[in-house]
Amino acid sequence: MSEIITGLVAEYSTTLYRVAYSVTRNAAEAEDIVQETFLRVLRHQNKLDEIRDARVWLVRITWNLALDRKRRSKTRPETEDIADMVRTLPAEEFGADDMAISSQEYGRILALIDQLPKKEREALLLSAMEELSTAEIATICSTTESSIRSRIFRARRELAVLIDKQRSGR
């Protein structure tokens, strides 16, 4: 394996894992997707010089692989429960004083995000990655920045409605 690939793994593997996990919500699948991403990079490593922004390029590969895998496993029931999801988070996150959410709520809201329309859901999930700017999200989704902003706005509004509905239904 070349030093370039090793450098890319060191720099971007965690970001790619987050991107894959945001779609699959399964740690093992997210790891597989990141591995598949770097295998593709290995296969096309002679083209690395032509890549302008390696981060966006890698995130795009991971994103498409994750969506593809999610599409194929749609009929399969989710295996990862809330406890497993919480395990993937840093230990201090749920213990922070300013946290406004419990692990159960976290799981419930993630389930509600899955009910959003495809474009809005994808924009919202990518916006959760602090490493990605709106312009980069627009490149990954092959659209404009303004479109991404409006998708995120719509997604948040619809998600808030769903949360309220769920709360009033309980």
């Binding site: 593997s13 987050r18 996990y21 945001s22 993937t88 988070l89 406004a100 419990s102 692990s103 949360i163």
Partner: protein
């Protein structure tokens, strides 16, 4: 499981908190090392399978390759032989003159004798004929076998 520390029911805050947590997800310890190890293994297997596949292909197809090589060799020999013979018989469009006295040369080669032929002093060549008006004539004093009659005049009668 933790219990909510903040009892706020503001959906916006919950959404922000959820997205913040989603953006903070970390892979299990040693993920990078596992990834590098898997990639190393995959690239090694890819190289190995390439060479193994190549050698297996050549081994399995050895009869085909041998037959092809033999056919090619035969074709090369035939083409070479034909080309060689063409060079000897049809070198170019000019008249081929065999080297005088060498005794070598193709049967069809044009030959020019080194010395011009000299006509015999008495006699004539066999192809020389004297004809009048396109008709053959026999001289009166010509030697003829006994019993052969010669007309008085071989000249055609003039009107």
């Amino acid at each position: 499981m933790n219990t909510p520390r903040n009892a706020s029911h503001n959906p916006e805050k919950k959404i922000d908190a959820t997205l913040h947590l989603l953006g903070q997800v970390r892979p299990a310890n040693g993920f990078e090392q596992r990834l590098c190890a898997r990639l190393d293994q995959s690239s090694f297997h890819a190289r190995k399978s390439f060479w193994a596949g190549t050698s297996e292909f050549f081994f399995a197809q050895r009869l085909t390759f041998a037959a092809s090589a033999a056919t090619l060799a035969c074709a090369a020999m035939i083409v070479g032989s034909v080309q060689h013979s063409h060079q000897r018989t049809l070198p170019n469009t000019t008249v081929h003159l065999a080297a005088p006295g060498s005794g070598l040369g193709a049967a069809s080669g044009t030959r020019i004798t080194p010395q011009p032929l000299i006509a015999p002093p008495h006699g004539r060549s066999r192809s020389e004929r004297k004809a009048t008006g396109g008709r053959a004539t026999v001289q009166r004093n010509a030697h003829k076998p006994a019993g052969v009659a010669v007309p008085d005049s071989a000249e055609p009668q003039k009107p």
